[in-house]
Symmetry: C2
């Protein structure tokens, strides 16, 4: 089974990395780019013996406690195949 966790800064938190990318793109001839925000994702492979519901529960816990910092980041979990 595979899961994917998306982690991004909360929309109220400044994203200087994204702003730098936006400024660079504007300077490179793409004035139409009005905003860029950067995030990260984790592709997680789960061993065959784990039940789907248990996998979702585990990945939600992992996302909340390990992969994201809930103070400034939000996350979304997808369970694939």
């Amino acid at each position: 089974m595979k899961a994917r966790v998306f982690v991004s800064l909360k929309s109220t938190v400044l994203d200087p990395q994204g702003q730098t990318v936006r400024a660079a793109l504007n300077g490179l001839g793409y004035p139409g780019i009005s905003d860029v925000r950067q995030g990260k994702f984790f592709d997680i492979a789960i061993a065959g013996g784990v039940a789907r519901e248990q996998a979702r529960k585990d990945v939600e816990t992992i996302a909340h406690e390990v992969l994201a910092n809930p103070v400034i980041e939000e996350y979304r979990v997808e369970i694939l195949d």
Copy 2:
């Protein structure tokens, strides 16, 4: 208009960051996690005056030339709303 670009290491390229996360999760009591690979994504806002086809073309170019390193990374572009 919004676009999202996903950038990840090619599957043939080692991902030490993902391996470190996997080892940490195994040690934290999740032995069922067999692999973790990390990637990044960019949420790009495009100004209203740009046509959809032009936006897709621009974002494809941006992904290939700026956001990803095509030697070791692959990318995927999604155009939203």
